[in-house]
Amino acid sequence: MIRMSSPNEFAQEKGRPVKGEGWRLSEEEYERLQDPRSVGLDVRSEGWRVGEEEWREWLGTLLRSGSRLVAPVEEDGLSLFRAVSSAAEVSLRGYGNTRWSPKEFLFPATEALFSYRLLGDEVELGAPPADGGEQVLFGLRPCDAAGLARLDEIFLEDGEDPSYAARRDRTAIVSLACDTARPECFCTAVGGSPAGTEGSDLQLLPLDGAWLLRALTPKGAQLVPASAAGWTPASAADWRRAEELRLAVEESIERDPLSPEWAPVLEGAFAQPLWEELGQRCVGCGVCAYVCPSCSCFDVKDEGDAFCGARCRLWDSCTLPQFTRHASGHDPRPTRPSRYRQRVLHKFAYFPLQHGGRLMCVGCGRCVRLCPVGIDIRESVERAFSAGASGEGRP
């Protein structure tokens, strides 16, 4: 049973209170704010101040319109994204982040690609069951929304994956900016923000006891209900408060950047003996890849019997022992450190080099928190970069 620590643990460790308590941003400071991660000085007019009742009512409207609504719920003590049948099931109380990412709603853990029937010499192929309907993913943290944006790049650019594309088209994302950070969070270190807008169609920004709701895309704007006419428009003070909270949370994260510019150095550090040490305690499970919002590796297998079945796409992880093992027994990555290295380099070097400098990691911290042996990918990247930059051991 995984027990999550409370944010207070982190604050105590740091020896000072989280900035939000009693700290206020002055009007002047706010006007002068040039921070690119700012909540958006230029869209101040497009927001509403909503309370819990109002957003729950809004979710109810979405459900009644026939959309599938996916939101955080509490299940057996875990916070998970589930499709809900009523707005009341949505649980944001004590919500840090869900145990694993919501990527399964765009990229299912198991997906039938087609069915087959074996009829003597003939084979009959059938289309997979339709997975239709609009869906709204509600309550994603900005890191998860950014992670799904990475999946978009992987599955939609360079040739579209039809089932992913169809599902993505029907999906709107409402993110919920963070009012606190956990020790494992590091979105700011990878170019993100607790109020980041990447990948979101709408966003709720926490105020004290209320939220500032804003539409970020035309798709998001369309989801705003007619009843919003009765909502209170967000005031300048609301925007300022949202900004304060963002700054407070960002500052509490306090991690040094892991730059995409490090990618060539990390790539060059491939042969460093350091990886043996970094990957030494890895036990070769798939937790990190499966809880991650941007990990997208998959396997394709036929599941069925002698008469019929389906070809399925299934989550897979480069950390699992069978990932690159050939039928002949030859395995280019025969050791756990070599597989761990692949995961780190794919996230922080290869993907950025293939995708114009965008890191694949979004800093949600789940792998750091949930790794059974406490491997910290941030530490691995920092140390590999140092080793690569110093040129030790380079052939």
Partner: protein
């Protein structure tokens, strides 16, 4: 959820008109198959609901055969073989008797109606008995109704609430005390390395999250200062032994162990996976592991402050040879996992089934449970084998249930209750309860505990002539 071709459509729990039970019978070739044949030649009339699959011996019966039968649509499974003492291969059925006892317990604990899984002894001359066994089983399964397919979505019934384990029987050691043990541990490790007595010491060091302790491997005396000991040292480091032993060169492997961890060593020795002489166990005094501010459940009922297997015991005062009888009295409390097991067993089977299916539906098939278990050392796990694919690869109810059953059965009688699997499971599946239920069953039925002497054979590889026999 994967929807396969129409033969796998979910079937309703309430029988439709004209439904007939489908029963798979796994029978041994020499006795029961002949007995069934005899029923035929004797023109006995009996229920036609059974499909026979012939095995050479019930000793060949693997739990996955039964799981597959259920997942392919059987409403009941019957296994039958020669009477004890009459096995064509002398002892196959005596092994089967033990294994089936344990497997039935697991399936009952998971909430499978006991009527659906039966075992019988039918000899070659007992055609009449065969007919009767089949008739009775068919009638029982008819009453139980069709078995909802295991590919169906998990029930949305709420889980029974977790029981409050009660007041923690002990306190975590003070920082000062942990600090003193740490200092002694560092010195001991440094000395062992400097003297060349070990080539590596596996212990714990600070992780990057507040208070986190993680596995650490130290190969030089000056690195020993990385090691530390406190109440957050949860990992079972024996899982690293096979690899460390392979790489160790000429030195031995030093391992910091709690008593729960070290028990795994007995299993590894019993199964010839290592030579005890190659390992130096550094026992540390442990009052429990605190995770997320709470004492781990396994620690409540633990009475061993230091592992009795320790080669060296690290105390706040220094390292002593051998294990150390602790002067501190351990408050004896009952294991809270037993109360949870009892609570589950008091529920009707359908509620238990829903409880476990709800958890298995969350299973991510990350295999973290397998990865951290010291006794899961197979080079290729049954879950990874694809010729044939015994465990469905799909992450659905059927596949996840098959995996969790296989895991529990492969560890039955071997698991030492370190609960690492449950600690690391990202889906919070109560693997600890599954393991413990089977461990208790094996102890009560066969008088065997996994921390027994390594010379005692694993319980499911042996038998006694007077093993419990509740079968027809």
């Amino acid at each position: 959820m994967v929807q396969l071709a129409e033969s796998k459509e979910p079937r309703p729990r309430v029988p439709e008109k004209g439904w007939e039970p489908r029963i798979v019978a796994l029978v041994c070739n020499w006795c029961t198959y002949a007995g069934a044949d005899m029923a035929g030649t004797a023109r006995r009339t009996y229920a036609p609901n059974v499909r026979i699959i012939r095995l050479l011996c019930t000793g060949r019966l693997d739990p996955l055969f039964v799981v597959k039968a259920f997942q392919q649509g059987a409403d009941g499974v019957l296994a039958s073989g020669c009477h004890p003492g009459d096995c064509h291969y002398v002892q196959g059925n005596l092994l089967a008797r033990r294994r089936f006892t344990v497997f039935s317990t697991l399936m009952d604990f998971l909430g499978l109606d006991r009527r659906r899984l039966q075992f019988a002894w039918v000899s070659a001359s007992e055609g009449v008995k065969w007919a009767r066994v089949v008739d009775e089983m068919t009638q029982a399964v008819r009453e139980a109704g069709p078995l909802a397919t295991w590919a169906a979505p998990a029930a949305t019934a709420p889980s029974p609430p977790l029981l409050d384990p009660g007041a923690e029987p002990r306190q975590a050691p003070s920082r000062e005390e942990s600090g003193r043990i740490t200092a002694q541990l560092q010195e001991t490790a440094a000395n062992l390395l400097a003297e060349g007595k070990v080539s590596v010491v596996a212990g714990y060091a600070s992780g990057s999250l507040p208070g986190q302790m993680v596995p650490a491997f130290v190969t030089a005396p000056e690195e020993a200062s990385r090691l530390a000991w406190n109440e957050r040292c949860a990992n079972n480091l024996t899982v690293y032994l096979p690899e460390l032993l392979r790489k160790k060169g000429t030195g031995k492997v030093g391992l910091v162990v709690k008593s729960c961890d070290a028990r795994a060593l007995l299993g590894l020795m019993r199964e010839s996976q290592l030579d005890r002489a190659d390992v130096v166990l550094l026992g540390v005094p442990c009052t429990g592991v605190w995770d997320g501010g709470r004492l781990a459940l396994k620690c409540y009922g633990c009475s061993e402050e230091v592992s009795p297997l320790a080669d060296l015991t690290i105390t706040p005062e220094g390292a002593r040879q051998g294990p150390l009888a602790s002067a501190r009295e351990r408050v004896a409390v009952s294991d809270p996992r037993d109360a949870e097991i009892a609570a589950l067993e008091s529920l009707p089977p359908e509620a238990r089934w829903d409880y476990w299916q709800r958890q298995f539906a969350r299973c991510l098939r990350c295999y973290a449970c397998k990865a951290v278990c010291p006794l899961c050392y197979c080079a290729t796990c049954i879950a990874e084998k694809h010729r044939p694919q015994w465990i469905p690869a799909a992450f659905d109810g059927a596949g996840n249930t098959a995996w969790n059953i296989a895991r529990a059965m492969h560890l039955a009688g071997r698991c030492v209750g370190c609960d690492e699997c449950a600690r690391v499971c990202p889906a919070d599946i109560r693997l600890d309860l599954l393991n413990r239920r089977l461990a208790l069953e094996i102890e009560s039925r066969f008088g065997y505990r996994a921390d027994a002497d390594p010379s005692a054979p694993p319980p499911l590889t042996t038998f006694r002539p007077d093993d419990p026999d509740e079968f027809a």
